[in-house]
């Protein structure tokens, strides 16, 4: 495995005297797709916030390429990692094209500016939003907004990509396409961290899965290692059956 680009060591987050995360350690390497899974309120989004530099952990540290994450400036970070947040509202009547172009703004006044057109065209294709560019962002449906925002994040072309529930608002085909797109990003040498709820979807595309439960890292490893019927039943409180399809586990609730 390649040397880790991002590594969290003993990260804790305490908000209002409540431990949201309790000494979680996690390495993310270039070229891998890591899925963060866990029940609602387990601390997945908080972990994503810590890894992306939005949140300063109350304890522990996060190192990006050997440097403390907190020591990077806003712009330096913007050139190293991009984040797709869960909610993506846009004020004023910006078009989808304008929103996607905004993803290029960290590269203003750099040689990478020359890639603008190509990066945007590639992002449009990958997120399947070419037909939406002229539309006003606020007039799009929830799923279309999510895909336009994904295109904005892809256009940013950073080495690390965080996607917080990118598939939540999407239909079946687009869910698959977004996960395939995330896998392609990883294949091109980026580190990709995806928060997903659909365990089978995570298992089908992720190289590694980190299962977070009650603010702690319950397990991390390949999907087959992490997704055992016993563990999922314990963490989610729901009996499941694990079926294998093409070497990947499929998680089915026992009904």
């Amino acid at each position: 495995m390649a040397a880790p680009t991002l590594s969290a060591t003993g990260v804790s987050v305490v908000i209002d005297n409540r431990a949201i995360l309790d000494s979680v350690s996690l390495d993310i390497a270039a070229g891998e797709l890591l899925a963060l899974v866990g029940p609602n309120g387990a601390g997945k989004s908080t972990m994503l916030g810590v890894l992306s530099g939005d949140l300063t952990p109350s304890g522990g540290s996060v190192q990006l390429d050997g440097r403390d994450l907190g020591s990077y400036s806003h712009l330096e970070l913007a050139r190293r990692r991009s984040v797709l947040t869960q909610e993506n509202q846009v004020s004023f009547a910006f078009t989808a094209a304008e929103v996607i172009e905004m993803g290029r703004s960290p590269w203003l006044k750099t040689p990478q500016l020359a890639e603008d057109d190509e990066a945007i065209a590639a992002a449009l294709r990958a997120a399947d939003v070419g037909h939406l560019v002229a539309r006003q962002y606020s007039s799009l449906s929830g799923g279309e907004k999510a895909r336009v925002s994904l295109a904005r994040v892809l256009a940013q072309r950073t080495g690390i990509v965080f996607l917080d529930e990118p598939t939540a608002a999407l239909d079946l085909r687009h869910q698959e396409e977004v996960m395939r797109c995330a896998a392609e990003l990883a294949a091109s040498g980026r580190a990709v961290v995806v928060v997903v709820h659909d365990l089978s979807l995570a298992a089908a595309y992720a190289h590694r899965v980190a299962l977070i439960s009650g603010g702690q890292l319950d397990a991390v490893g390949t999907p087959a290692e992490v997704f055992t019927a016993e563990r999922i039943e314990r963490v989610y409180g729901l009996a499941v059956e694990i079926v294998e399809r093409g070497g990947r586990p499929v998680v089915l609730p026992v009904r």
Binding site: L77, V83, E87, F94, E98, G103
Partner: protein
């Protein structure tokens, strides 16, 4: 029409209306002056003597002592207020944020009125002269903006109801403060304060115009330089941060900018509300929300609006100089209703 074509059309329309407004304001008034005399006088001022130049010294002094400073003041104040509105809307992410509506103008007016009433008694203020009023207006406006901002922002979003309610509270408080100052002030101060409340460009002098112009130009240039950041802010604070924007610094800088632009306008011309609401809104409808062009076009549009509003203010009733603040509110009030109704239809009101 593409946005580019609309932008070019808007530039041409604004330029034509601007020249027309300046020319009309120069020739219309108690003393009628012909357009050729205006042109001749302007040419003479830049060192070109022509036969067009007015021979009557009264015409010459009417132009240079009364009308020109007033026109330039209208342009500068209109530009400052419109840009203050555009910047405020950018940082609040809401088209209803406007210095007059949310109480920045009345905060600034309270500061200015305090300077006037205290001015006679406090030596430092008396020495500062016009600048003292401006500084106090700026401080009053700044306090009001900070208050509005921290009251109505939560979790990176503006709560529109809180925003407007904060505006009501600040306007009420500043109104009471002004009433108190009216009560304790002497007759001269009272007249000045009444003038502030209504807003007027009457009696603009070149020294004051110079202050307003310097502040307005500096403010507008800074706002235009920040434009790209304002665009990214439309994505929400978190996303703007992910794209490399130092949101906290941008926010504080913009608040100072709004207070500066509003404060200087209010300090010399009183409360002229709704310019910052109406102008950016119309510009956005014409050329879209991108802030670079929005801010520049709003500056010109605000200036044009006030030149025409001031022309109306001094010619609508023969021999009387109506308060311009009254006129802009007369137009701006119904426009605000229209915006409310529109937002309500689209998103089911403000929840």
């Amino acid at each position: 029409m593409s946005r580019r074509a609309r932008g070019i059309t808007l530039s041409i329309v604004l330029a034509v209306v601007l020249v027309a407004g300046v020319l009309l304001s120069s020739i219309i008034g108690q003393l009628s002056i012909s357009p050729s005399e205006v042109l001749g006088s302007l040419l003479r001022a830049v060192g070109i003597d022509t036969s067009l130049a007015p021979t009557d010294p009264i015409v010459e002094s009417t132009l240079w002592v009364v009308r020109f400073p007033r026109i330039v003041m209208a342009l500068a104040v209109g530009a400052a207020l419109a840009v203050a509105g555009a910047v405020m809307q950018a940082i609040f992410g809401n088209p209803l944020a406007e210095p007059g509506v949310v109480g920045v103008s009345s905060g600034a007016a309270l500061g200015a009125a305090a300077a006037i009433v205290l001015g006679a008694n406090v030596a430092v203020l008396a020495n500062l002269g016009s600048w003292g009023t401006a500084v106090f207006a700026f401080v009053g406006g700044l306090l009001a903006t900070l208050l509005v901002y921290f009251m109505s922002r939560a979790n990176g979003r503006t709560e529109v109801v809180t925003l407007l309610l904060t505006g009501i509270a600040i306007n009420a408080f500043a109104g009471a403060g002004l009433a108190f100052l009216l009560f304790i002030g002497d007759t001269a101060s009272r007249e000045q304060i009444t003038f502030w409340q209504l807003g007027s460009l009457n009696g603009s002098r070149w020294q004051e115009v110079a202050i307003v112009i310097v502040v307005a130009i500096v403010g507008i240039v800074i706002a235009a330089l920040l434009a790209r950041r304002f665009d990214l802010l439309a994505l929400g604070e978190r996303n703007a941060r992910h794209l490399g924007i130092n949101v906290e610094a941008l926010r504080i800088g913009s608040i100072v900018l709004v207070a500066l632009l509003t404060g200087v306008a209010v300090a010399f011309c009183g409360i002229i509300a709704f310019v910052g609401l109406v102008v950016p809104h119309i510009i956005r409808m014409a050329i879209g929300p991108s802030h670079r062009s929005l801010i520049i076009a709003s500056a010109v549009g605000g200036g044009v609006l006030l030149v025409f509003a001031d022309l109306l203010a001094r010619t609508l009733v023969a021999g009387a100089d109506l308060p311009i603040g009254m006129l802009t509110s007369l137009i701006g009030g119904p426009f605000f209703f229209y915006l409310l109704a529109r937002q309500r239809k689209r998103s089911g009101g403000f929840a």
